[in-house]
């Protein structure tokens, strides 16, 4: 029937049909490599993790059982999981706002004065570029209970020395502080780029309109104009925070003392690679993925619209 219609159609229409088809084929063949790679490297493993999360498979085991939501039910009653989730949120809650605010502060200070700009930029960026493993050794020395520099300073104020990483009360804030130190530089560089993009005319207009104090300039021009940068920095900081918490904890505390610094990624690592409970680790991974997904969607959908004026 359709063939008959096609045959009856005037030649021009037929040519247009053929043209549209050829265009579609070209489009798909051009998109094919990227699509295949995405399926192979992103969607495939994610789908695998979803399947795995519904089984009790252990790494290396020959058999596996379909247990439905069993892993998630176990998770709900698992005190380590809840501790780990809570610690992760505290870590993110400390690192993201402080690293963003301090990064913005550093960027504003460096941009305000041209002298030594390159030096300060490099100094603040160094932690981002350096290997965490090497830096962790430096931090262990600094935080050492008997000869660490940090305790020397604290003692000068009349406070007795603290074993920062071994004390359950201070371990998580200490790890977070190192996380801030590491994240600050990248945020600073991103904010500096954002500051450079603000047109000087707006500051001039603000000065003539009467908004000429440092605070008014910041409030009327800098802060609103940094909106898009701020949004990007917030999301990047949160996603990187989730990931970097693992590096720091694995190197400095191994989740101790007594699970005080146990974070989500470290729990996944332990379940998956120390206890070989691959199914359970996959279920934890899905929880982690959900957080990252929410953050990404937040950036893409909600806030992008409110901070871009163009």
């Amino acid at each position: 029937m359709s063939d008959a219609v096609l045959a009856a159609a005037p030649p021009a229409t037929r040519r247009r049909h053929a043209g549209a088809l050829a265009e579609a084929v070209t489009a798909w063949s051009l998109a094919l490599p990227a699509t295949l790679l995405m399926i192979l490297l992103l969607l495939g493993p994610a789908f695998g993790a979803i399947i795995l999360a519904l089984t009790d498979w252990q790494f290396g085991a020959a058999t596996l059982n379909w247990i439905g939501l069993g892993n998630f039910i176990e998770m709900a009653g698992d005190r380590v999981f809840w501790r780990s989730l809570g610690n992760t949120l505290i870590y993110i809650g400390l690192v993201v706002p402080l690293a963003v605010l301090l990064g913005l502060g550093a960027a504003l200070l460096i941009e305000a004065e041209s002298a030594g700009r390159a030096f300060y930029r490099a100094a603040f960026f160094l932690p981002v570029a350096s290997t965490l493993l090497a830096m962790a050794i430096v931090w262990e020395f600094l935080l050492h209970p008997s000869f660490g520099l940090v305790n020397r300073v604290v003692e000068a104020f009349g406070i007795s020395a603290i074993d920062w990483l071994k004390n359950p009360a201070t371990a998580l804030p200490t790890v977070a502080a190192i996380g801030i130190w590491k994240a600050l530089g990248l945020n600073m560089v991103l904010f500096m780029a954002g500051l450079k993009a603000i047109p000087q005319d707006l500051y001039d207009a603000a000065a003539i309109d009467g908004a000429d104090t440092a605070w008014e300039k910041f409030r009327r021009v800098t802060w609103p104009m940094l909106g898009p940068t701020l949004m990007f920095v917030l999301v990047i900081s949160a996603i990187r925070g989730f990931q970097e918490s693992f590096d720091l904890v694995a190197v400095l505390t191994q989740g101790g003392p007594n699970k005080a610094t146990e974070v989500l990624l470290y729990t996944i690592y332990q379940e998956g690679f120390s206890f070989f409970r691959s199914g359970y680790a996959a279920a934890l991974t899905l929880i982690f993925l959900a957080f990252v997904l929410v953050l990404t969607l937040l950036q893409a959908r909600v806030l992008d619209k409110r901070v871009h004026y163009g």
Binding site: P199, D201, A205, A207, I208, G210, D212, E216, P224, M225
Partner: protein, 420 residues
């Protein structure tokens, strides 16, 4: 309304340690007095220092030397907001996150509300905030109505066209009723048609507000059409300050003559003969120059400073240049002819009209006679020379004829001497 005094302003960029061409002064001692309610335009090629001068008047930039006064009071130590000036920027510089109403109202908000009253939410609870905000709203409504942008008040700048943004920027400047309006190339980002329309609107606005306007542009058409006086600037100096018609007809220097006027003035090399008359490309003009000047001078002729003569027979018209049409620009109401002179290859642009140029196409020969009374003479350094028009003389003659006549006179004198 206010007078603005600019006295001997010098501005250098870069540090004193770095001597060199890039450290040269951007403004080299500029002085200018602007009257109450005057529309003064600073015009010049880019990099001439006109925008820097405007920014110094606004207080956004500081002069290395010299002083700015408004209404006779030196304002050099004052911040921009204390000077009571408003500025319109080329980029409009609207706050993109604010609505049009908030943009226009901001100068009033910043001046009339205290820091505490400006706080969001809490500010509204303080005494007086409501009343002040209502007053501000009424005033910005009035300004918006006068600019015909009331329907745009709730929009963000990104939702406006270029012309609408321009009006909002004007509104933000007007709302405070400042003493002086400063405009930094406000029409440069608009398309040609809108630019012509806004030109008339800004001139009309100036008449209505009766405020002092200082307007910066590189477009000589804007300078000519809007201003009471034009200050032509080049290389950090003011070359001439005069009403537009004077700047056009009576330029002080060759640079002014070349910058003002479209199409650009035709400049030909000329020389001064021993009898103080001016010879240019084989013609002697009935002009007499006094004073000690070099023999090499420049002759400037505007596009309309020629008589165009049809060439029927060669040598039919003495005292005429012969040329060929190389290009015809028909603008409807008027017509420009680009011609090349037959000897020497000099190219000229002539203003003509359809009746006169009907038979002239590309390649047509024509005769040209400069109008001596419209000739502008400049010395080798570009300074204006003011010749006396020799009405009693023979009009334009061929240099060869003039030389023969002189020789004959000299011969007669000589023979007379012999006879005596």
């Amino acid at each position: 309304m206010a007078t603005v005094g600019i006295s001997d302003i010098v501005k250098r960029f870069g540090t004193a340690a770095k001597a060199g061409p890039e450290n040269a002064a951007v403004l080299k001692g500029v002085s200018l007095d602007i009257a109450h309610g005057e529309f003064l335009t600073l015009v010049g090629p880019s990099g001439c220092g006109k925008s820097t001068l405007l920014r110094i008047i606004a207080g956004l930039e500081f002069a290395d030397q010299g002083s700015i006064s408004i209404d006779g009071i030196a304002v050099d130590a004052q911040a921009p907001k204390q000077r009571d000036v408003a500025m319109v920027f080329q980029s409009y510089a609207l706050y993109p996150y604010m609505t049009v109403a908030q943009n226009i109202g901001l100068p009033l908000t910043m001046r009339r509300l205290t820091a505490a009253q400006r706080l969001p939410l809490i500010g509204n609870l303080l005494p007086g905030t409501r009343a002040a905000k209502t007053a501000i709203d009424a005033e910005l409504q009035q300004v918006a109505a006068s600019l015909d942008i009331t329907h745009l008040l709730a929009r963000k700048p990104s939702q406006l066209s270029g012309g609408q943004r321009q009006r909002v920027a004007l509104g933000r400047a007007m709302v405070r009723q400042p003493k002086v309006f400063l405009m930094d190339e406000p029409l440069s980002n608009l398309d040609a048609k809108l630019r012509v329309q806004m030109r008339a609107e800004i001139a009309e606005l100036h008449r209505r507000l009766k405020a002092t306007f200082i307007y910066v542009t590189h477009d000589q058409a804007e300078a000519m059409t809007m201003s009471d006086r034009v200050a032509v600037m080049q290389h950090g100096e003011i070359l001439q300050v005069a009403p537009p018609a004077v700047v056009y007809r009576d330029p002080a220097t060759l640079a002014v003559a070349e910058f003002i006027g479209s199409p650009k003035i035709n400049v030909l090399p000329a020389s001064l003969r021993s009898d103080r008359s001016v010879e240019v490309l084989g013609l002697v003009l009935p002009l007499r120059l006094a004073g000690n000047i070099g023999s090499q001078i420049h002759l400037g002729l505007r596009a309309e400073a020629f008589d165009i003569l049809p060439v029927a027979r060669p040598h039919a018209h003495p005292g005429v240049w012969r040329a060929q049409v190389t290009h015809r620009e028909d603008l409807g109401a008027e017509l420009f002819l680009h011609v090349q002179l037959d000897d020497g290859g000099h190219r000229l642009v002539l203003r003509s009209h359809h009746a006169e140029a009907a038979s002239l196409v590309v390649g047509s020969p024509l005769g040209l006679r400069p109008k001596p009374d419209q000739a502008l003479l400049f010395d080798a350094d570009g300074r204006r020379l003011r010749p006396a028009l020799d009405i009693a003389g023979d009009g334009i003659v061929l240099a060869w004829d003039a030389a023969t006549a002189e020789a004959r006179q000299a011969g007669m004198a000589q023979s007379g001497a012999v006879r005596v």
